[in-house]
Structures are given as C-alpha cells and as structure tokens.
C-alpha cells in the first residue's frame, strides 16, 4: 500500500510548473465565476440578510433596531400564523398522499399498455395540465368550480341529484377544492417520473419471480415497490416542499385574506401579507425562517426514515 500511494505523489512533485495556481485552476475559477456570483448574491446573501432582518424591528434592511427574538415571539403567538401553517399542511398532506398514490396507479396502468404509441399518447395527455401556468389553472377552475348551479362541476353533480357545492366559497370545501385543482395540474409530473422509474426496473427480476410462481400482486409488492422506494421518497419530499410554498393559486382565488374565512391563508401568503402589505419585514422574515425550519425538519425526517428502512 505505501509504495502505491507514493508513486502519484512523486509524479505530482516532479511536475515542472509549481505555481500556486496553474492555468487550469485559473480557467476553473473564471468558468465558475458567474455561478458563484449568482450563489453569493441570490442565495447566501439573502439567507443571511433575512436572518439578520428577522431580529430587527420591521422596516427596510438597515434601518430597524435590534429587537432580539420578539419578531419570532410575535409570529409564534399570532393565531393567523398557526392557522396558515395548519391550512398549508392540511392541503399539503392530502395533496401529496393522494397525488402520489393516484399517479403511481396511473403510471402502472400506462406502463402496462402494449403499444408504444398509446403509451406516448397517454403520457402526453396526462402531462398536458402540467405545462399550464397556475394563473391559468386557477382562472379555469374558478369557472369550473363556480358555486352557482351554472358551474360545470355543480351541473354534473346536479345530474345525479347532489345540491350545488360552494367549492371555492364554502370554507369547509375550499381547501379540498384547491387539492383537487392541484391534483389535476400535478398528476402528470409524478406519473411520467414513475413511468421512467418503472421502465428502469430490471426485467430479469420479474422473470425470476415468475419462475418462482409469483403472481402480479406479489411481483408488484416485492419487486416494484422496493425498487421504486427512493423515487417515492423523492416525490414525497418534492411534493411536501412544493406544498409548503403554496401561494399563487390561493392568492388568486382567495385574495390576500385567504378567503373564504381565512381557510386559504397559507404560510407564504402570510409572509407576503406581512412583508408587502404591512411592510413588517422583520415579522415576515421571522415567519419565513420558521417555515424553512419546518421544511428542513420534514426533509431530514424523510431522508432518515428512507435510510433506516434501507438497512432493514
């Protein structure tokens, strides 16, 4: 062992140029400079600035005086903040659970269709709502979910004798209606990733299981699910993070008050209100750090459970 490691070291020392950086390093720094400037200016600086701001009294970045943890105390005791966290999680959890299970079923169905043309057709159709902006989706669903009997969905359920539902106007339905809209828009994304993952499962695993007499359910349970577990965990993480960031649709449908009755007030909407309506930058950044901690904790928990279950 020692002999082997010595050889490359000697070669390195024998190199003619012994400058602090060679032209290769210089090129490396020049090539990565734009990215580094971007990271410094638009990731690290804002994170640090937000942290400092969250300990200061409102106002713009430099003006405010140091107030310690009082912004955090304000946020933690603000009923509206906890309601916004509750709403965000409520919608997020339902959307992630339903979204992943539905898209997994959908992906398995599409994957099993024989005929490449059909498969590509279905992939394209189910993915279509995904390229549509949230603004357009929200406008479209405001019409579809019109609370009167003239709304398309109310008309359809009226045909089977159900009373019109105030999808976006009744606080007991509004969150679930948002979830339905999200599912329509996002289902295709998870589905095509699942299809790609299903295609990557080695065929000989299934063939071996068939020889051992496994039926489709056993193959699905013992080969497909374990093989796809990393992808499922990834989807849960991405889905959760995206759910925590919900803003555009609830802002367009419920306004800055998160109507109806604050049921659509989400965490980012709360941050937006405080920062850009009442100029309480300190409170807003404190709230954003609390939200970030939620996201970070969730991500770490998911990653750790994934690793643990991998050891079993």
């Amino acid at each position: 062992m020692p002999l082997k490691t010595e050889v490359p070291i000697r070669q390195k020392k024998a190199r003619p140029k012994k400058k602090f950086f060679n032209s290769r390093d210089l090129a490396g720094y020049l090539f990565t400079a734009p990215l580094l400037i971007g990271i410094m200016g638009f990731a690290i600086y804002p994170m640090v600035a937000a942290l400092i701001m969250s300990f200061k009294k409102s106002a713009s970045s430099s003006a405010g005086e140091w107030v310690g943890l009082s912004n955090y105390q304000y946020v933690a005791s603000d009923k509206m903040f906890w309601e916004s966290i509750y709403n965000t999680f409520y919608m997020g959890i339902i959307a992630v659970v339903l979204g992943i299970s539905l898209s997994f079923i959908l992906a398995s169905l599409i994957h099993n269709v024989t005929g490449l043309r059909w498969r590509n057709f279905f992939k394209a159709v189910y993915f279509l709502p995904n390229v549509v902006s949230l603004v357009a989706t929200s406008i479209l669903f405001t019409f579809l979910f019109n609370p009167g009997s003239e709304g398309l969905l109310n008309y359809v359920i009226g045909l089977v004798g159900i009373e019109p539902v105030g999808w976006f106007t009744d606080p007991s339905y509004s969150r679930f209606s948002i979830v339905l809209m999200t599912l329509w828009g996002m289902l295709g994304y998870n589905t095509i990733i699942f299809i790609a993952a299903l295609t990557s499962v080695p065929r000989d695993l299934y063939e071996a299981a068939e020889i051992d007499g496994a039926n489709w359910f056993k193959k699905w349970l013992y080969i497909t699910i374990p093989y796809l577990r990393p992808i499922i965990i990834f989807m849960v993480i991405i889905g959760t993070i995206n759910a925590m960031k919900r803003f555009t649709d609830v802002w367009l449908i419920g306004g800055t008050a998160g109507n109806p009755a604050g049921s659509l007030m989400t965490a980012v909407l709360y941050i937006y209100r405080n920062a850009f309506l009442s100029s309480q930058m300190g409170i807003a950044t404190a709230a954003s750090y609390i939200l970030f901690m939620f996201i970070l904790t969730l991500t770490i928990i998911l990653l750790v459970t994934n690793r643990k279950s991998n050891f079993d």
């Binding site: 971007g38 200016g41 970045s61 269709v113 669903f141 405001t142 003239e150 990733i193």
Partner: protein, 299 residues
C-alpha cells in the same frame, strides 16, 4: 452439468407456446380495457380545456356563463377576443414574457454550462467545494430569499427593470448539476487532445464540448422556459409599471379581485396566454416529457 436431453425441452416449449397463445388473447382484452379506462381518465384532463376554449368564443357568455352549461356556443364570435385584446394589452405582455424568458435562458444556461464543465473536466482546486455549494443552495426555496432579494433590487434601483430577472438567473444550481452529470459522461481525452493541439481551455470548451452538450442544453431550455413563462410571484413583486408586466401578471391583475366579470372575455385572454406554451408542447411534447422525467430522476 450434463446437457439436458432434447425431448423435454421441446415438449416444454410446445406447452409454453400454447399457454402464451391463450395468454395473448386475455392480454389483448386486458389491454383494450386498460386503454378504455385511460381514455376515460384523459377526458378529465382535456374537458376543462375544451370547455374553456369553446366558451371563449361564446358571445352570450360574456356577462354570465349560460345555464345549462354547454360546450358548443350558440353564437360563435371572435368579439370576445377583440374585447380581451382591447382590455388587456396581451401582445405587449406576451412580448415582455418572451424577452424575459430569452434573457433568463441565455444567462442561466451560460452560467450552468461553464460551471458544470469546469467542475466536471477541469478539476481545479476547490471544484468540489463549488459543487457542494451549488447542491446545498439548490434546496433553498425562493420564498425564503424573496424579501431580501426584493430589498436588494430596490436599493440598487433595479426594481421594475428586467435586470431583476436576469441577474438572479446567474444562480442556476440545478442546471449546473444537470450539465455536470451530463459532461461527466463525455471522455476526458477530448480536452487533453485539444490542449496538446494548442487550444486554450475556453476554445476547448467552446469548440469540442459545447456541440456535444446540445441534448442537455435543450432540456435546460425547456425547463427554464416553462419556469419563467409560468412564474407569478417574482414578477408580482419586481414589476410595478403595467407596461412591463409579464403575461401571467397581466392576466392575474385583470382577473384578480374582480369576481371574474366577463367570463368568456377572461377565458379568451387565458386561452391566448396558453397558446405559446401549448403550441410548443404539441410540437415538442415527447421531448418535454423526456426532459421532465430525466430532470426528475436526477434530482
């Protein structure tokens, strides 16, 4: 191992053939059933669009959506579109969105490709630190950084200009990661040969590696175009003059807080706002789906 006798193998094969034939029949039935189920599901994805596009031509729906709901307008008219274009400067907004998308794509892709190449092939001192830095900042949600970023652009007087879009585009960590893992698969010897032939690092990248990066470039163009075109939150914060609005912001501002008056006019405007994306999707649909699948699997 002794070679297996020929006969049992043959008879086994015959049995298997008979079995697969009957299986094929049930398979085909199952396949047709599967396609029918999936086609029914597709209706849920398509019908809302179809309804919106058809209603957008319905002159009678300009004040109220007709009851009972219908797909086919009684009075087909393009006047809803004329109204949409006179009420909202749609063309201007679309051009604005295109300008911003183009600028962001050029800047972010340049940044991502150069840094991805440098991390993958130059292996300079500290390249692994750059990679770790990029990967860890990728996790930071925009909603965390938006307030300081807004104040920063306010301070340097670049709020309400498109620089507020171009400058943050430099930080395209995910693109760097995509480019880096793509360039990892290209051979190192190309660079060494280029250097021996007397080319400098910049020329080697530009003339040898860049042309090989077209597939990942296309993927990044698609990802960035969709992201920029559909974004609302940052345009909402950064742009104040209505003349500079993006199409999403213009549409949102028109429909926001007005209880959606003029249904078919708004539907016409929404349809127009979707056209560029839908047309692109129709032409590049397979490519877009592949790109999203690839980037999703990589993440």
């Amino acid at each position: 191992m002794k070679p297996t006798p020929l006969n049992p193998v043959l008879s086994q094969g015959k049995e298997k053939n008979a079995k697969t034939r009957s299986m094929k029949k049930t398979n085909r039935m199952g396949n047709i059933l599967l396609i029918i189920v999936l086609l029914l599901g597709s209706l849920i994805m398509i019908v809302p669009f179809l309804w919106m596009v058809l209603t957008s031509f319905d002159w009678q729906a300009r004040l109220n959506i007709p009851f009972p709901p219908r797909f086919w307008p009684e009075e087909f008219s393009l006047r809803t579109y004329t109204l949409a274009f006179t009420n909202i400067p749609m063309l201007k907004y679309i051009v604005n969105s295109l300008i911003i998308s183009l600028g962001v794509i050029i800047i972010s892709l340049t940044s991502a490709l150069f840094s991805g190449y440098a991390i993958s092939k130059l292996k300079f001192k500290g390249s692994s630190i750059v990679l770790v830095l990029a990967l860890s900042t990728m996790m930071i949600p925009f909603e965390m950084t938006m307030i300081p970023q807004y104040l920063l652009f306010d301070k340097i007087n670049l709020l309400d200009t498109y620089w507020a879009f171009y400058l943050p585009a430099l930080n395209f960590a995910f693109g760097t990661f995509l480019a880096k893992s793509f360039i990892d698969q290209l051979p190192n010897t190309l660079r060494e040969a280029g250097i021996i032939d007397g080319a400098n690092e910049f020329l080697v990248f530009l003339k040898i590696y860049l042309p090989l990066c077209i597939p990942i470039l296309a993927t990044m163009v698609i990802l960035q175009f969709l992201a920029v075109w559909n974004d609302l939150l940052w345009p909402l914060l950064a742009l104040q003059t209505p003349d500079k609005y993006t199409i999403q912001l213009g549409l949102a501002m028109f429909s926001y807080n007005k209880d959606l008056p003029l249904p078919s006019v708004i539907m016409a405007a929404t349809t127009v706002s979707l056209l560029p994306v839908i047309v692109t999707y129709l032409f590049l649909q397979r490519y877009i789906v592949e790109s999203i699948a690839l980037s999703g699997m990589k993440q």
